[in-house]
Symmetry: C2
Subunit: 492 residues, 2 copies
């Protein structure tokens, strides 16, 4: 790529001749690493015109730079940065300088905290028991493409390009209100829905609106790691509640709680589904102690062993439940689309906050999703995923039983993962590293758990990204590594 | 669309027969507005299978509902919600309930504040002197479409679908680092850049990382309305600094300032460009008083009257400047893509915060932009916009001179708008309303200004969305309304 003429500016404060200034600009660009060997400079005519100087000034500067080995010339074709030009020093120092104390300048620190690790190159691993990435053999790329192309058309020009301020795509909003939510037994008008950049964004907005430093939020333990970092950042008082085989136990929620975050359809990561009786009990507690509930209706679509339970929100007569839905798991996470449904006064504040933080999700993604949903491709895709996952789960069950791997949570409704328990003394973080070297990816439990234990016995095994034939040999490798780890424990 | 069978659930706690429960579910769906007249119910066979009840139970329930006028049957084709079915009550009450006091339940309020109003249907207006929306006659829809389709291809499957956690699209990052920033004289490595959901998101992230309740931020007055709501939400101490014809005056920045937000390329909304001497003076002040500078490099691309000035960041030897770029104005705002460039310790915190708030901008938008930029379409588009804007500006100048409209800020480098001043006593908010009824859209100054004056004399006139032939008659209508308003002032 040639170096753009706009890169060059004259500085009125420069002390020296114009020619010297041009030489210094070019040499400076090379020494700073902005111009690289082999890149073509603007022609002397073009640069002279741009800077408003005479062409001979530029030519003289270029010639001087050639004799200093900064530039070479390829006859009539122009001037290039020379391969022999002095090399730039290390980059990173330059941007930071050393006069700013960044440990002081940063007002609020957000980094740190344990995240689930997902290798970018996970497809290179033979046995990726990885959660939440898309299996290309199942996704309906063809129809997604057709919908995206339609959303790029003349008729949708505004939905693609316009600054919508704080508004959502009306077609997507309408579909969610008319079709998606009613299937979960929820009735909402457009001012009770907000489109978000994935469920993560919906959770974050909700926490920001409902919580303050003086409020208390209860959440499940173990839990989705994202919710813990969101609650930490909100600086509220945070209460982790241990879950059991039926999910979050309402009896353990302290009366001073202001907001409860829960995943009733598919507890993350234990895969427990909260029974209907407990849902009623949770709502009763909410009414009694006057707290709000945030329902992350995580993976309800992946019910293939029995029909999905009704959403907590559909049982909520008081308007105490904020409902969060997502297309990340059923479509794909790179889409970054989710939604909030809740009472209008709450949605109004979440919308105002979203507007300040990011305005609105890109119009093109919203319109493409609206087409994909309304043309019925989404339902067909979910059906295909269910069939494939059911098949894989059968194979998983058999292989794990055969090798005696212990399942801590399987999910009675289906889903796409198991919550597993390693034998006593086995550190699953170490286990994951060992397995990774053998082309097997598992998710150690650490990122999901509240307590900072020395070792973490739990881990998650997902079957959403691994193909059926890879499951049995992959499980065998896990069992083998587990035995080795146990042997290490016994010997130690 | 038929009513999905997943809508129906049996409640073990229901007191009554199965048939009664089915009747109640259907009637409840109709009465709540979830099922609408003309919609088809699941067949009795399908519903019976789904609920695990006998088919005759469903048929009996359907027949009962028919005799109550909830349903009709169209012979063998099935059951439908009847047109004569009872109508649902008003929607909004339902979601809110009335047991939650939302004025108390909301922990932090984000709504309120004055926004620029952009009518959704602005294209229906004959004379839209509106800022920041895309003119379809100038945008290169064809090549955008080609790039988007390419980004939907098999090779880019991961970039479209994957959960990238806190990562950016490597191709877009590389292009910004190698081409976009060097043109502004800025050298940054990938860990010194963060892709954001537009410049708004970049500003917001920056404010959250750098500011606290105990810190002081200075910003321009008048200013981009978005920055004021961002700073208000950060709860920092906020200092509006009046701008002059050269933009932000460094001498007026109090020494206790921690962070300065500025738009040196094109002061929003006055269109002033900060001269090079003042840029140096601002950097000197920053060093002397140890504050940071956030440079929103707003609309630098639209320089057609003279070459753009170097970015403040390119003159920054200390690493005190955080640089914000955007593709919203030069490509389109619905894209929602911008970027931050700054020292790695700062970018690390901004990235961690972005990850908690929304993970990452949708992969497809990032990859499409990367193609559009790297294939040179972006440069061609910017060139076309410059030519068109220069032409429109000439017509604007002529028409405004002819009608004696007073320009408060025109921008010496080009741009796409004028900052205007109405005669004494004319309220531009009222003026905008009058003009809107005459198919003319202008932006009253209220949203940009700090002080709560009784009337606002300023307004903004943009020529980015109005076509050349509409300019002269549009300006004539503005002048006419202005005269009427003045006459009103004189008579009052």
């Amino acid at each position: 790529m040639p170096i753009a003429v706009e890169t060059f500016f004259l500085d009125p404060a420069f002390e020296g001749t114009l020619q010297q200034q041009i030489q210094q600009m070019v040499a400076g660009g090379i020494l700073s690493g902005r111009f690289r060997p082999g890149e073509k400079l603007p022609s002397s005519r073009k640069l002279a015109h741009h800077l408003g100087v005479s062409r001979i000034t530029v030519t003289l500067a270029y010639n001087e730079l050639m004799s200093d080995d900064y530039l070479t010339s390829a006859g009539r074709s122009g001037y290039y940065v020379s391969d022999k030009a002095p090399e730039p020093p290390e980059l990173t120092q330059r941007m930071s300088g050393d006069t700013v104390d960044w440990s002081r300048a940063i007002g609020t620190r957000f980094s740190g905290g344990i995240q689930i690790e997902k290798p970018v190159d996970w497809r290179r691993y033979k046995y990726p028991f990885l959660y939440g990435q898309v299996d290309p053999t199942l996704f309906d790329r063809q129809n997604w493409r057709l919908c995206a192309v339609r959303a790029l058309g003349q008729r949708d020009f505004d939905s693609l390009t316009a600054d919508q301020m704080d508004r959502d795509d009306p077609q997507l909003l309408e579909f969610i209100a008319r079709n998606t939510l009613p299937r979960r037994g929820i009735l909402a008008s457009p001012d009770e829905i907000l489109i978000t950049i994935g469920a993560q964004n919906a959770l974050w907005l909700t926490a920001q609106v409902l919580l303050t430093q003086r409020r208390t939020a209860a959440h499940e333990d173990p839990s989705y790691p994202g919710i813990r970092s969101i609650l930490r950042q909100s600086r509220c008082h945070r209460l982790p509640i241990p879950v059991d085989a039926d999910g979050l136990p309402p009896d353990l929620i302290p009366p001073e709680t202001d907001v409860v975050f829960t995943t009733p359809s598919h507890q993350c990561p234990t895969a427990a589904t909260m029974p209907l009786e407990r849902r009623h009990a949770l709502l009763d507690r909410a009414r009694k102690d006057d707290f709000l509930i945030v329902e992350d209706d995580y993976e309800f679509e992946m019910s293939f062993l029995r029909p999905p339970s009704p959403a907590l929100k559909s049982l909520d007569e008081d308007g105490r439940v904020i409902y969060i839905g997502s297309f990340s798991k059923s479509l794909f996470p790179g889409l970054r689309l989710g939604y909030l449904a809740g009472p209008a006064p709450f949605i109004r504040e979440a919308r105002a906050l979203r507007s300040a933080v990011l305005r609105h999700p890109p119009g093109h993604m919203q319109r493409t999703a609206a087409y994909f949903l309304s043309l019925g491709h989404y339902d067909a895709l979910v059906k295909r995923l269910r069939t494939a996952f059911q098949d894989r789960r059968r194979i998983m069950d058999k292989a794990m039983a055969q090798h005696g791997l212990e399942i801590a949570g399987a999910g009675t409704f289906g889903g796409s993962s198991y919550w597993m328990r390693a034998p006593d003394g086995v550190d699953t973080k170490q286990l994951a590293e060992t397995l990774r070297a053998r082309s097997v990816l598992i998710e150690p439990g650490e990122a999901f758990c509240e307590r900072t234990a020395r070792t973490y016995r739990h881990y998650r095994l997902a079957y959403s990204s691994i193909t059926a034939p890879q499951i049995a040999p992959g499980v065998a490798l896990i069992a083998q590594a587990m035995e080795e780890a146990q042997a290490g424990v016994i010997h130690a």
